[in-house]
Symmetry: C2
Subunit: 129 residues, 2 copies
DNA sequence: CTAAGACCTGGAGTGGACTCCAACGCAAAC
DNA sequence: GTTTGCGTTGGAGTCCACTCCAGGTCTTAG
């Protein structure tokens, strides 16, 4: 029963999928499009994700789940890869995204009120029967 | 200069698009899949949307923009078409959706906090340089 | 008379983000 | 020594919700 951990802090793609919530296919896809890099390989060519990768995947998940398109995530990944001199650019990118998320939340809130209004209307009709 | 309004409260597809924010193509598509019905036609076969349609489209927009899939909107449309005895079912459907929206908002809020944490981290790094 | 503008139809095409597949490579288990 | 499990690849396929297109019809303007 081989442990999923091959070396300290290095995870197989299956274990990484399990830990991050991405599928193995998605992890491979992300690597292909350049969202993940520096993935080492074991002696038989199998991917070994590091602890850092898990952290990075966590950020990607957050960005993806808040609606950032892959292309923009790629731009962010590129900045991270380039070095510390891109930190202001990263702040700009993330801030813009955060604003977009804030707007999305506000929109959802007003739409939610709209839906609740509709529910209340139906309830009043149902009660009036 | 023909007014866009052909008869009291009846709108051409172009005017309906302008008023609802859907494209003409989307309106035709929604009619095809059964999300809109009872659209009358003028003498030359052109669609005439009523005031009621505008109201309905407003609800559809709200549901769509909060992430309800077309299929579920169709189920809702079906209920509305069927009659008042489906009001409890409509309440159930909308309530479930409202819950989903509430969850989405909560998720976005925590993800937003995560993003802000990252921004703050970058700011501290930038300040420390 | 012609051209523009709004609309019609059926059906094909698009974009984004995966998701699946066939055929293969290893390694451990029985 | 073959089956099981986990992984590999390149490329094709899927899903959703539109979106676009060709070719046609009317009406109105110049």
């Amino acid at each position: 029963m081989a442990t999923e951990l091959t070396a300290a802090g290095r995870y197989s793609i299956g274990e990484t999928a399990r830990r991050t919530g991405f599928t193995m296919d998605t992890l491979r896809y992300y690597e292909r499009v350049g969202l993940i890099d520096g993935v080492e390989r074991g002696p038989t060519g199998q991917r070994r994700f590091s602890e850092d990768h898990l952290g990075w995947l966590d950020i990607l998940k957050c960005l993806r789940d808040t609606g950032m398109p892959i292309e923009q995530m790629c731009r962010f990944a590129e900045l991270v890869r380039t070095g510390d001199e891109t930190i202001p650019a990263r702040i700009t990118l993330l801030t813009a995204h955060e604003q977009a998320v804030a707007k999305r939340i506000a929109d959802l809130e007003s739409q939610r009120a709209h839906i609740n209004g509709k529910i209340d209307y139906y309830k009043s009709v149902a009660a009036g029967e």
